[in-house]
Symmetry: C2
Amino acid sequence: MRQIKHPRLEQIELTDLMHALSDPARIEIVRCLARARRPLTCSEIDIDRPKSSMSHHFKILRAAGLIETEIRGKEHFNSLRTGELEHKFPGLVKTLLRLMLAA
Amino acid sequence: MRQIKHPRLEQIELTDLMHALSDPARIEIVRCLARARRPLTCSEIDIDRPKSSMSHHFKILRAAGLIETEIRGKEHFNSLRTGELEHKFPGLVKTLLRLMLAA
């Protein structure tokens, strides 16, 4: 099965996470995933942006280590790497998600 | 006395803070200020970067609302806006500073 590459936890830098969250569209994607509490396909994440720009945003979120994407059949399922990130950056993602969900 | 403009707390966006911290040099500046626990002049913040790029980094940190700069005589004194930011984004700056100081 085709797989998508993800950075390992030790490769993830704080600056990458910050860059990934420096764009309102990417914050929207993360908020959707946090609300859903389950993996979402790209089409389930409806944030009213052109499909081409969405691929770009997913790529940046994935490269930063914020989300992981699993291919099942023809669908791409995206989820937050909250547990792993909590291990490397204690408290950070929890705090960010709390602020994003409150906004 | 000449003053430097700063964004008001209500103008500060999460994406601006994230952008400001997406660069290793700017994280270094913030770490210096957090360690010092007092306002520092630009020359006291010695992070081995060209002076021209330092001005750029200070400008971005200031525009994002992360630091404030006060002019006293010929010196520019920089400090973190931790207290204000804690009010708007509870827990965020504390968590980020803890992670930066531990790194």
